[in-house]
């Protein structure tokens, strides 16, 4: 990649860092959130949950057909859920912005590897990581076009 593109990548990183830095400044309260999630072949319900950054999150987890697992990326949570048993309760603080998959960690049938849900940890501006990514994509688009334009102009 040439200098022009490198400059845009740097600008993107700066913009992303600024967006991420706004999170702790603007989020003062630490709400508590309780969400019930059921696991069945081959989905979690709800499949997508959103919580504010800093929230104390309590998940009430239950399997309704066969044994499943619940593995949450980045939070070290991995529990087994068996049908007919009391719900499993896990609690954690949503400290980091972004999207974190929760996956079935117990082989539950043929489509087990594709059984997945998504936890979105939002900042005061919503899904900051997505906005940062879109900003970066915009900068890369314009940057790549400008780079070619300048190269042609200098010929």
């Amino acid at each position: 990649m040439a200098r022009g593109l490198r400059a845009f990548v740097l600008a993107t990183l700066l913009a992303g860092t600024a967006l991420l830095a706004l999170g702790p400044v603007l989020s003062a309260a630490r709400p508590s959130v309780t969400i019930e999630i059921t696991a069945s072949q081959y989905e979690f319900s709800p499949g997508r949950i959103s919580v504010p950054r800093g929230a104390e999150v309590t998940l009430v987890l239950r399997a309704v057909d066969v044994s499943h697992g619940f593995y949450l990326d980045g939070y070290g949570i991995d529990v087994q859920l068996n049908p007919g048993e009391e719900p499993t309760v896990v609690t954690f603080t949503a400290t980091t912005l972004g999207k974190f998959a929760y996956r079935c960690s117990v082989t539950c049938g043929p489509y087990h590897p594709y059984m997945k849900g998504e936890l979105i940890v939002e900042g005061p501006l919503g899904n900051t990581v997505l906005w940062g990514g879109l900003l970066a994509a915009g900068l890369v688009t314009v940057g790549a076009a400008l780079r070619v334009h300048r190269q042609e102009a200098s010929r």
Binding site: E43, F44, D73, T96, P113, E118, L130, G133
Partner: protein, 468 residues
């Protein structure tokens, strides 16, 4: 590594990787035959474990090896760095080719079979496109059911045999293989190329062993003419031309990524443009259906919700790939030529060139998809290598390795970075093409807007799937 000056017609710098010793080694008829034998052994094991092993996909070597290891190696390593090197060692056409040649290793003059020419109307990627879509439609089942994977690979090893006995050379690889289609397309982006060094040497040499064959080797099995070979798309790196060229004028060299995206070629046609759009769309579809949180879509795609929902899924899947996305892209291409002040320019030519320029974005989206599979499921590789059939063996002592993704929280950021790299290369290629097609820099910049907007929206869609 020795450096060669770029030939006059070459628009980019290259660096040869062929030392005299390596050239001698590659001229041996045992290369790549010995690697084909190794990959054949691997695929036989895959077929056996697929057909006779456990039905639990993530405990079966066939599923884990093919859809995690092989797929990742192909799309993320071999194609970007080594072009169609997989085709050079692929075991799928081996049986047919050996029968056709009547020889395993050594060169023989007489070939077996009817030696017919491939039908002219099928001299494109449409067969590949339809076969690939047909297989891709059932991918949720294929990638999780060991029997289906086993039968699919067995079929892909059997089909080339009659084709090799009816048609000349590697008709299966060039016109039928559903894997070869996207390998060829994405190899246009690759870092590596095989080319004739000095075109003048070829022009003045009347022997033309590269297309006639010689005692050293066969005529190009891919039906290419090395003298005019300009793109990686249909060069299977079988090295026959390297063996037969008495002038040592065939070179393997490194080059900038994406060098073939801007080239004109007779075989760069609408079927290749469709291939590019199909692959781009499918990367998004798989991220939603396979790796997304929507259980109902998985039920639609696997018949679990009934035939009516599967047919709806089929309509959306095939209609999106063959009609909706290409039609949208065609409209934007038309808008591009209007904005660029050349409404009379060939819409077909612009459409094909611009669609092929989407190759980096599609390739990096597929790498992002494949990284997700590997980063989350890597531990299955060691478990199934130790117990390939799922019969309770523990050959390597790693059968009990627990499922443990590697830093899965980093995955979205890796995926963002990958797709942005693809976007940068695609917009660069689109702009360079625009400069070629339109008369002034200003007109080219205007014409770029709809095309760059398409690439941006496609990227934004991927970002939404990765982190949204």
């Amino acid at each position: 590594m020795s450096t060669v000056s770029a030939p006059a017609a070459q628009a980019y710098p290259t660096r040869s990787v062929l030392t005299p010793r390596l050239r001698r080694l590659l001229r041996s008829r045992w290369v790549p035959w010995i690697f084909i034998l190794a990959s054949l052994a691997g695929f036989v094991l895959v077929i056996l474990t697929g057909l006779f092993g456990t039905m639990t996909g993530n405990q079966n070597f066939a599923i884990v090896f093919v859809w995690i290891v092989w797929w990742f190696a192909l799309i993320a390593i071999l194609v970007p760095l080594m072009s169609r090197s997989w085709c050079a060692i692929c075991p799928l056409p081996a049986g047919g080719e050996w029968l056709q040649r009547g020889s395993l290793v050594e060169h023989k003059t007489r070939t077996w079979g009817l030696n017919r020419k491939w039908p002219r109307r099928l001299n494109n990627l449409w067969t590949v496109n339809f076969l690939f879509l047909g297989i891709a439609l059932f991918s949720p089942i294929i990638t999780t059911n060991p029997r289906v994977t086993g039968f699919l690979l067995l079929g892909l090893m059997i089909v080339p045999i009659p084709l090799a006995l009816i048609y000349s050379k590697r008709a299966f690889c060039r016109y039928v293989c559903p894997v070869g289609g996207f390998l060829g397309l994405y190899s246009n982006f690759s870092w590596l190329e095989l080319r004739a060094n000095e075109k003048a040497v070829c022009q003045h040499h009347l022997g033309k062993e590269c297309i006639k064959g010689s005692v050293e080797g066969y005529a190009c099995p891919w039906m290419e003419f090395p003298q005019t070979l300009g793109r990686n798309a249909y060069c299977g790196l079988c090295l026959e031309c390297l063996k037969t060229c008495p002038k040592e004028n065939i070179d393997i060299r490194l080059r900038p990524f994406g060098a073939d995206l801007l080239k004109d070629a007779k075989d760069k046609d609408a079927s290749e443009a469709w291939k590019s759009l199909i692959m781009l769309e499918l990367a998004g579809v798989y991220l939603v259906v396979l790796l997304g949180p929507y259980g109902y879509l998985k039920d639609w795609a696997t018949f679990r919700a009934g035939l009516d929902h599967f047919l709806l899924y089929t309509g959306l899947f095939v209609g999106g790939a063959l009609l909706f996305v290409p039609f949208l892209f065609l409209l934007l291409t038309h808008l591009s030529r209007v904005l660029g002040g050349r409404p009379q320019a060939s819409l077909r030519r612009l459409f094909i060139d611009n669609a092929v320029a989407l190759v980096p974005l599609g390739l990096f989206a597929w790498i992002a998809f494949s990284v997700a599979l590997l980063q989350v499921n890597w531990s299955y590789i060691f478990a199934t290598a130790s117990d390939p059939f799922g019969w309770g063996w523990d050959l390597l002592g790693t059968k009990a390795m627990a499922w443990q993704p590697i830093l899965p929280q980093t995955l979205p950021y890796i995926q963002i970075a990958l797709v942005l790299i693809g976007l940068a290369y695609t917009v660069t290629a689109l702009h360079r093409l625009s400069l070629r097609h339109f008369e002034t820099r200003r007109a080219a910049a205007k014409a770029l807007v709809p095309m760059a907007a398409f690439a941006f929206v496609a990227t934004a869609t991927f970002l939404r799937l990765f982190v949204g």
